[in-house]
Symmetry: C2
Subunit: 224 residues, 2 copies
């Protein structure tokens, strides 16, 4: 798996030690996020829209209804910038100025392509479902031809991308380390609450296996 | 507190019942997020950058080093689009097609202004710190004049904004409700792990009050 080549747009300039062009690092972050932010230009002005996504190898899939403004803007091959950001902790320094956040983020640049072939479209829908809860695809009703037709799927090649990662304790000014102020990191993570069954769930339908073993922080695309 | 007037850009067109122009709804989402996504146009192409932020009344503050690419692009009053997205749960339907995510998101459009006055800059740094952990500002060393000078602060008026919110169970096709597939919502929330003290923390410095009572989901800007 070859790594990314930094480009004018993906090269991390501010604090370059936080940058990574390692494909495994980038893909781990993409696989852990639930929502990406899609940036595009509409009438010369920036628009950013949060949306679900899925990854299939070196492609990122986006989808939505055919009428959506974002997909209309992107379907003609317009430039797009997609980011995924995971917040890992609050970095509490001794000074207000040095407070920070531990995070992992990915930025992807490129042009999306409309997925037309029914087979690839079905693979994209599998990627969306498995991205959220691995193993879910095998439990649910597969998409019908009508559902596939109603969905616009875009594929963005994972060719121009980079990650930016901050970890570790605060970095304070040398003279501040003597202050009697608690400093350190408050880790944050995504945790799962108790499942809320659908009010219309028929009696006797038990919790699914893939949900019982679900861990939001270690989901990997596991195509059936 | 008057609500937002939907504009060409903020009007929620796809699933309009999910849209809200209620200022309190928008501000609650902004106050709960840790990182926003800043979209701008650079050389005609979209760029999205995750960054920390703070809110002070009807203004959103962004900040960074003077050399940062994003702040350079925005300081001249370029159009910006800022989003904050909170993921509240996974919506597990009986069909792959109807899987969804419960979320709350905000989009803000506008042009940022450089904050020059030292007093307003100090207020912005207070807003950043209190946004992350309410009560923290009073515990830490305040910024020096040099630190204020090194920081570029931008203020974005909260004038053109809207929220989009999905809640509740899956919406399945009528005939799918009979399927023996577990369906419902898996709630997600941000939880706090055990605090990691800075390796250089002097002995005897106890946990701070504001961290001991910290709850990531109910932080409100509480200026000192």
């Amino acid at each position: 798996m070859n790594d990314f080549t930094p480009t004018e747009r993906t090269k991390v300039r501010r604090l370059p030690q936080r940058g990574s062009y390692d494909r495994a690092v980038v893909y781990d972050i993409l696989d852990e996020g639930f929502v990406c932010q899609v940036g595009f230009v509409a009438e010369g002005r920036p628009v950013v829209i949060p949306t679900a996504y899925g990854r299939d190898g070196d492609q990122l899939f986006l989808h939505g209804a055919r009428a959506s403004r974002m997909l209309k803007a992107l379907r003609d091959g317009a430039e797009v910038c997609v980011t995924v950001t995971l917040v890992d902790g609050l970095v509490l320094a001794r000074s207000a100025f040095h407070h920070s956040i531990n995070y992992r983020s990915v930025v992807v640049f490129g042009r999306a392509r409309v997925v037309e072939a029914e087979e690839e479209k079905a693979r994209a829908l599998l990627a969306f479902t498995e991205h959220v809860v691995p193993g879910r695809w095998a439990e649910v009703r597969e998409p019908t031809r009508q559902e596939l037709d109603a969905t616009l799927v875009l594929a963005l090649p994972l060719a121009e991308a980079s990650a930016k990662v901050r970890t570790g304790p605060p970095v304070d000014d040398e003279e501040d380390y003597a202050l009697a102020v608690w400093a350190g990191v408050l880790p944050l993570r995504v945790s799962v609450g108790e499942a809320v069954p659908d009010p219309r769930l028929p009696e006797g339908v038990g919790m699914s296996d893939c949900l019982a073993r679900f861990d939001p922080a270690s989901r990997r695309a596991r195509p059936a």
